[in-house]
């Protein structure tokens, strides 16, 4: 039993029999993510569980857990209805602190980019979109898809709150690739697929340029530290963001301000 770990007792909902034992995928500061099944054996799902915090007053703890699960589900539903690529919500019990979501196949964008960069011959050297235009096309394409996804997200009035390349999945496209540019095909495969945004645990509903700009800034910083060699390509994200989202220009102006002062707003007040 993968979950019968005494250190991490699974939520009650996972103690009942299922076709396959749930497996703990990851553990965050606030919650845990299990892979399990929804209703029928052939329907994989992700179960996010926020265990009770012993250091909090029980009443407050229950209220916070419930509010956070509910707000995450609400944001996901809103995004999903609007066609933003996010996992669908399957079932939830906010009082018990769990939510089942669609399981997104594929790898995190972070892994895809690193695999792509790992194959580059000149290790350590910074790459730029201009010097090796043709070579970097698949990666630039991925950046554009990221920008499009974020643009669509912001358009619905949601800010993610924790945009990183780990919080985006590369879901394999159904039916596979059509065009046959041989040779580079295998290499390009690691950055292929639909970008799906995940982990809306810190997401909020906001239409403010400030919040949107901070969202982009957080990703920009995360990107620069996770993939320093591809830092220059980040411009492609902003470019397609601008093409997807009508109100992008004012957000990008705000982004300049945020870059100057950092994520936190002035502490004067």
């Amino acid at each position: 039993m993968a979950v019968a770990d005494a250190q991490f007792p699974p939520p009650k909902v996972l103690t009942y029999p299922a076709s396959a034992p749930p497996s703990l995928i990851t553990q965050g500061a606030e919650g845990r993510l299990y892979k399990t099944t929804h209703l029928v054996p052939g329907r994989p799902c992700a179960l996010k569980y926020r265990p009770p915090k012993p250091y909090r007053h029980p009443t407050l703890d229950a209220r916070l857990t419930k509010a956070r699960i509910s707000s995450e589900a609400k944001v996901l539903e809103r995004c999903w209805r609007e066609g933003v690529p996010v996992p669908a919500v399957y079932a939830m019990d906010p009082a018990a602190g769990w939510m089942m979501m669609e399981w997104i196949e594929g790898i995190p964008v972070r892994v895809g980019i690193n695999e792509w960069l790992g194959e580059r011959p000149e290790d350590g050297a910074e790459i730029s979109s201009s010097s090796q235009e043709t070579d970097q096309t698949p990666l630039v394409d991925l950046m554009k898809r990221i920008g499009t996804a974020i643009g669509a997200l912001h358009k619905t009035g949601v800010v993610h709150g924790d945009l990183t390349t780990s919080n985006m999945m590369l879901r394999p496209t159904r039916g596979g690739q059509v065009d046959g540019c041989a040779g580079d095909e295998d290499k390009a495969r690691v950055v292929e697929g639909d970008v799906v945004l995940i982990d809306f645990g810190l997401a909020t509903q906001s239409m403010a340029d400030e919040d949107r700009a901070v969202d982009l800034y957080v990703l920009e910083r995360a990107f620069a530290s996770t993939h320093p060699r591809a830092e220059k390509l980040f411009a492609a994200v902003l470019q397609s963001y601008k093409e997807t989202f009508k109100k992008a220009p004012s957000v990008l102006i705000k982004l300049e301000d945020v870059r100057m002062r950092g994520r936190k707003r002035s502490m004067l007040g």
């Binding site: 076709s19 929804h38 209703l39 329907r43 609400k74 209805r81 066609g83 919500v89 009082a95």
Partner: protein, 203 residues
Amino acid sequence: MALERLDLEHLPAACQVYAAFFRDVSNAEFLHAQLLSRNGEFEYAFIDASSVISRLHLLSAIYSAVNVLLDGALRTPNVHSEIVVSLNTNNNIADAYRRWGITPGKTKDLIVVKVVAPPSGAQEEPPTPIQTQQAIWDHLTQHVQGIPKPLTDAELARAIDWPKVRKYYRLNGVPALERVADEQERWRQSERLAIMGMALRGL
């Protein structure tokens, strides 16, 4: 026997769920009256199949209702009425009965669900006399006047009333649906939206 035993993931083994599907039911009035009179022998979820999208959609409602039962947090008389209420996207119980429950004069195609759960809490009513799959089926065939059909997506698709479903689950004008051209895919997405709406009930 067309009474199917449903094995849902993440439910206690002691909890058994059975379901059957009848088409062209002619005695909806009688069945409805049994529910109104709280006849203990008719502890079933009678669901109007015209507002059910798919098997998975139905299973979602059952799963959520049984979870509520296990938590001892029923807001309706029993787990069967809770299944009907679970199909709703808001907390209006009367509304849910009207939309998804059996309606005299309207319901033609009927899904019947029976949950046999061990009496857990004190608030449980005494266990109903009929317990085994064969006994449930005998009782149903004796009282439901309709044509038994397998509970499959294909059969359910013949009974569905799309305008109604679209209204109940607010599927009109949803961008995620409008951009889908393929009919099969659209059906899948509608199912997802319905399940999501149910999961977020009352939020």
